[in-house]
């Protein structure tokens, strides 16, 4: 799946001693997926996960998280439609008062299923497209799914769901932003997310093949701004900037353990959907209640507050604004999760980001670059 770009408005207070509620709950119901997207943030080792949580486990997680104040629910994966208890999970979540978003590739979303999910209380659907063209959509996902996704988009509207169209942008499709937006308009999408790839999981493996040039990015931003001016607030348009091109880090997850809680298919609880890579012990809902996990577990407390920070973050006046950026990115690039996110130009490791961006400026020779496709065989081979 794509990276859920969550927004909370207005911004909640900076992390403090008091632990607030996990307002955003993301359940990754399964790692199984019919698509094999090269930019997926799922761990490259996903094929080692075999035992998924049972229906009862998921229902208990919903009850416990809701009691803590969780309210925005994402059902994701992998492809959540591959769980045949999805309707049961949605019904329980609806009864508890969650606002429920299904994050899907669309594969498996037929008429009876979409009607049953509506009846169960599903609030909206986020449908992913890989591109505006059949050729690139199907190449990037390593499937033949473009026509199917187009039919599903129509079905979503027919059944009265608000539709969020999500397209992950990168070097190979970012020049098609105008066409992607026209496609979204034809499909009457209510929200469009143009989410530049964040480099974790499979995307990290494929980073140098996916990072756009600065000229590509600026063109895409210009096209998006023109489109936004034309359609007004008929369609809400979000352009998630690729942080490699910034000089200050994103306030990732509003600080770990602040508002986000992710449960992976095997029950591991994470303070961010990419955090499995961090060298920390994360608790599992099979062994502990969500309340203890969220408030007391060492894995969730480790990066709360700012006692963990090193320089230049520790004495930085902006530390309460960006929380030092992304712990996963610091770990991936520098080997130490407590370092400043190297996206920040105050980081002594910032050159690691600018070098990657500089490489993206070099001319390419290959027509179709060699990429790692997210499938079980590759997962076993590289992890």
């Amino acid at each position: 799946m794509s990276s859920p770009a969550a927004r909370v408005d207005p911004a909640p207070a900076a992390a403090s001693a008091a632990v607030g509620p996990p307002l955003w709950l993301l359940l990754e119901l399964t790692y199984r997926c019919p698509l094999h997207c090269v930019f997926c943030y799922n761990p490259t080792s996903f094929a080692q996960t075999t035992a998924e949580l049972s229906t009862d486990d998921w229902l208990r997680v919903l009850r416990e998280a809701r009691a803590l104040g969780a309210v925005q629910l994402g059902l994701s994966g992998g492809e959540p439609l591959l769980r045949d208890d999805l309707e049961v999970i949605v019904a329980q979540a609806h009864e508890l008062g969650f606002y429920i978003n299904l994050v899907t590739s669309g594969v498996g979303l037929n008429e009876p299923r979409i009607a049953a999910l509506k009846k169960a209380g599903l609030d909206h659907i986020q449908l992913s497209f890989q591109d505006s063209t059949r050729e690139m959509n199907d190449f990037l996902s390593s499937t033949k799914t473009f026509e199917l996704k187009s039919r599903v988009a129509a079905l979503i509207k027919q059944h009265g769901y608000p539709m969020v169209l999500n397209v992950v942008l990168h070097r190979l499709n970012i020049d098609h932003v105008a066409e992607i937006l026209e496609m979204a308009e034809r499909m009457h999408a209510d929200y469009v997310e143009l989410a530049n790839t964040q480099y974790y999981g499979w995307a990290w493996r494929n980073r140098d093949k996916l990072l756009p040039s600065r000229a590509q990015l600026e063109r895409a931003e210009r096209v998006t701004a023109e489109f936004r001016a034309r359609v007004g607030n008929k369609m809400r348009l979000f352009f998630v900037v690729p942080d490699y091109f910034e000089t200050r880090p994103k306030p990732c997850m509003n600080g770990l353990g602040s508002i986000f809680l992710t449960i992976t298919p095997d029950g591991t609880a994470l303070p961010c959907h990419a955090a499995k890579m961090l060298p920390l012990e994360f608790p599992n809902v099979r062994a502990a209640g969500v309340d203890w996990i969220w408030r007391d577990s060492p894995g969730f407390n480790h990066f709360r507050g700012d006692a963990w920070m090193k320089e230049p973050c520790r004495s930085c006046p902006e530390k309460s604004k960006d929380f030092g950026g992304c712990r996963c990115q610091a770990y991936l690039l520098t080997g130490d999760a407590a370092n400043a996110d190297p996206v920040c130009d105050l980081s002594p490791h910032h050159h690691l980001v600018t070098e990657a961006v500089a490489r993206a400026e070099l001319p390419r020779v290959e027509e179709k670059p060699l990429l790692f496709f997210r499938d079980a065989k590759t997962s076993r081979a590289i992890s």
Partner: protein
Amino acid sequence: MSATSAEPEIAASARPTIGRGFRLQWEPAQQTHVLLYPEGMVKLNLSAGEIMKRCDGARTVREIVADLEASFGAADLARDVTAFMVFAVSKNWLVIGE
């Protein structure tokens, strides 16, 4: 988004209702009303919550203002309430039926 200055005023006879795809609910954990929508959530302050929860598509702006004034022992709320509604309409939180 168009400039709010270009938005028309909202008539006292209009019947505002929560916009499609938005859900207003009380959150006990946060002790506040929140507005939920795809991929987002707005925490409403007390007055915004009190206004929004009265926007049921049946009551007119005039009736909502009168109810608020009675509930909070206040007077002359029409301007503030309408100003909030104009803002909420610009965000699609409210839609106006006649």
